[in-house]
Subunit: 195 residues, 2 copies
DNA sequence: CAGCTATGAATGAATG
DNA sequence: CATTCATTCATAGCTG
């Protein structure tokens, strides 16, 4: 049901199970690692999280702060670009059903994000607005879902040409690979999560 | 579609570009996170242990083309390219004062265009958006062709060239999994008592 | 084969 | 919220 039209080409690529497995594993490992590291950090220190210049490598896309501040009024760059960390956090929050970003919450979030880079409440607000609006395009799929492809990775075939709403066109699949329970413990094994 | 013709038996699975992108992003994010956390840790602790699991700013992300790269026509990889027919139609519609591409209309157009090639609503939408934006930017030129030679549209000619990718994550040139080599475990094993 | 240009796509911000 | 605008990234293709 990819495209109802006559095109037979499916916009996808082929991966071997092996590759998929590798990917999944890596993500899982990273996820756990990050988790542990954060926890660890929080445990053994009370210093504010990094906010130095080390976030230079944090940009999902390279950090465009190289802009010349030489000219006159071009002081502040337009279009805020979230750093990886900010994005991660936002994404996380977004998932938590808190689809109702009330002003109060926004402030909190902004606070937290500011630890990882420049951010304004407005931006946070915008981000949520956009996020919602754009994912609104990925709802209709209630017909054949029942078959339950509870395989391992949820490979959902996104279709954008199907009929349906008459709203936005912004669509974006948002798959999050579930961290398989590959006992990472054996890696960081150590109940040493200080507490 | 790319190369199954080469290897008759290719046990793989299909992923959409979106999914691939998400994966890539996630890995990159995790890589960065881990990296930063490790760095942070190192700067907090006195012991010069561990190096981040992956080459720090080596840049994560892996190449999109995992198994293709063949000479075949991986035509539909990204970036839809309108056929002349489609273009004609689009131009036509554009001119007809339908500068207001309302969703409803878009669907119709998509339908029609699909008769002449692969197309998605999103693409149609994008096309109109770009079209307008572009023509709008060309207008303020006020027939002032006088100004020498190299001026016309070069206003925004940034270093769009192939330079400066040093440090960006989007510069996936080669397959390159950050490959968390678990150097972290050392960290977790000892920093425990640091402080 | 390299660099440039045109243009498809993604997304932050603005507007109704 | 629903749409639209603007800016920027990434790439297909032309050209020297």
């Amino acid at each position: 049901m990819e495209q109802e039209s006559l095109n037979g080409t499916f916009d996808g690529r082929v991966m071997t199970e092996e590759q998929m497995e590798t990917l999944r594993k890596q993500i899982a490992i990273y996820a756990v690692l990050c988790d542990q590291l954060v926890f660890l950090h929080n445990s053994l220190s009370s210093v504010p999280l990094l906010s130095s210049g080390m976030n230079s490598m944090g940009g999902g896309y390279f950090d465009p702060m190289v802009a010349s501040s030489s000219s006159q009024g071009m002081s502040t760059r337009h279009r805020w670009t979230p750093t990886s960390m900010q994005l991660q956090i936002l994404e996380n929050i977004y998932k938590e059903g808190s689809g109702t970003p009330n002003p109060r919450r926004i402030k909190e979030i902004t606070m937290e994000l500011s630890e990882h880079g420049e951010i304004t409440e407005k931006s946070v607000y915008n981000w949520f607005q956009n996020r919602r609006a754009r994912s609104k395009r990925k709802q209709p799929q209630t017909t054949t879902i029942t078959s339950g492809q509870a395989d391992d990775a949820a490979v959902t075939t996104e279709e954008r040409g199907s009929c349906g709403d008459s709203g936005g066109f912004e669509s974006y699949e948002h798959i999050l690979f579930p961290s398989p329970d590959l006992g990472i413990e054996h890696l960081l094994n150590r109940d040493k999560f200080i507490d």
